[in-house]
Symmetry: D2
Subunit: 135 residues, 4 copies
């Protein structure tokens, strides 16, 4: 549904690849990304680091908001952490456009535990929409 | 200023160590953490990934809010991204308590570029304060 | 669906009544509230004041989160303003619980224009849940 | 410090006047606004309504962000409620620019109780900066 050059460009993301995130779907205004929590992703309480949970959602957010092929830049994200995640959990992040204006767009991002489908975190996020094509 | 067992526990953070973050200071209600942006931390636009910038701030936030030795759990973080950061930039995150109530506390987090002292991101963040000692 | 004493207590809200808000529905974890924009609710740009739009959503949020009869206290709200609203517009705010934990709960709040069903604002909001009954 | 026509335009705010807010200071990128809590501003718990507290901060935010004479539009506000306020309390909101970019600017907003100087609420807020003069 989106052009291969755009999809390839989005998938060529160093941080996402380094974390081992799997970009499962990119559609116009939507993306789903998953990742299995490894030992390197834990905090000093022994649960999944909040920074990792945010990063997973951010990868989905970037994929969804750049899916039209024009550079979208994150302005702000408000994240709520709802449940801890443990070593070995498979986390799934979905970002979905809920509004698109002339210069900004709003996305909902949810991170869930694939096994029990429970919410781990939820965000509301805004991008600035440029009209520069990147691919 | 904070007990060595508490400080050692906070420094024993797998994700922070994996990212190569340097926890420079932990004081009661305050922390400063730095990191140099490597190639693995870039996004598909070629700038520093928002997830990495958030994670750096989150490491400072966790250190500051757990500095009293009782488990503090992040409830919500609102981050604003202000400027891109590039490969090789040294980023510095500072988290500072601005209010502490019976069950929650509020922190300001700023991420700056060490060289030019410009703001890269700024957050307002809330923790739930338990009364369980972790060290 | 909720006890009359609880509903009566929630409806006895001075600010809501002063603004002329109509609390249309209160159900467990949900509420819908509407209001028609009057001249006193405009800002110096001539559109509906952001403070009024937030307040309308906050009335729905308070009704939904207190619907169980125990005092719920707002901790944080992240609101995104999506479209201006004009004099005479009927605005509808809906608040819906998306997660409920032991000590906190998360709500989604949307404010729409009743006529064209377009989004005016959207929020993600957290309450602290006490176990004190208020009615 | 700011032009009289700009200041007059900002002060001509219907909602602010209706609430009885006193815009004490408008300077470039800064504003201070106060208000005394009346009976009409209470919620069903008997404390000051969150919507009123937000609105007060929003009046200061609008004055500060429009102080340059070009229309600034609120994109998002993340507010944390820190302490209840009571009938008769004099609340003071201050909004201060912390960053200004080409198309957006970031503000810190604090609402304090004038008598005891304690924080009631704190926000981080973003405007979209147009280049249209309004006065």
């Amino acid at each position: 549904m989106i052009q291969p050059e755009i999809e390839n460009h989005i998938r060529d993301d160093a941080f996402s690849n380094w974390l081992g995130a799997d970009i499962e779907i990119i559609q116009p205004g939507y993306s789903r990304v998953s990742l299995t929590v490894s030992e390197t992703m834990l905090n000093f309480h022994g649960t999944t680091h909040g920074g990792l949970i945010f990063a997973l959602g951010d990868i989905a957010f970037a994929a969804a908001s750049n899916s039209y092929g024009c550079t979208a830049l994150a302005l702000s994200v408000a994240i709520s952490f709802l449940r801890p995640a443990a070593l070995g959990d498979q986390l799934v992040a979905e970002a979905k456009e809920v509004n698109s204006g002339k210069t900004t767009a709003l996305y909902d991002i949810v991170v869930t535990d694939r096994k029990n489908q429970k919410l781990v975190a939820k965000s509301q996020a805004t991008v600035y929409r440029t009209h520069r094509s990147f691919a």
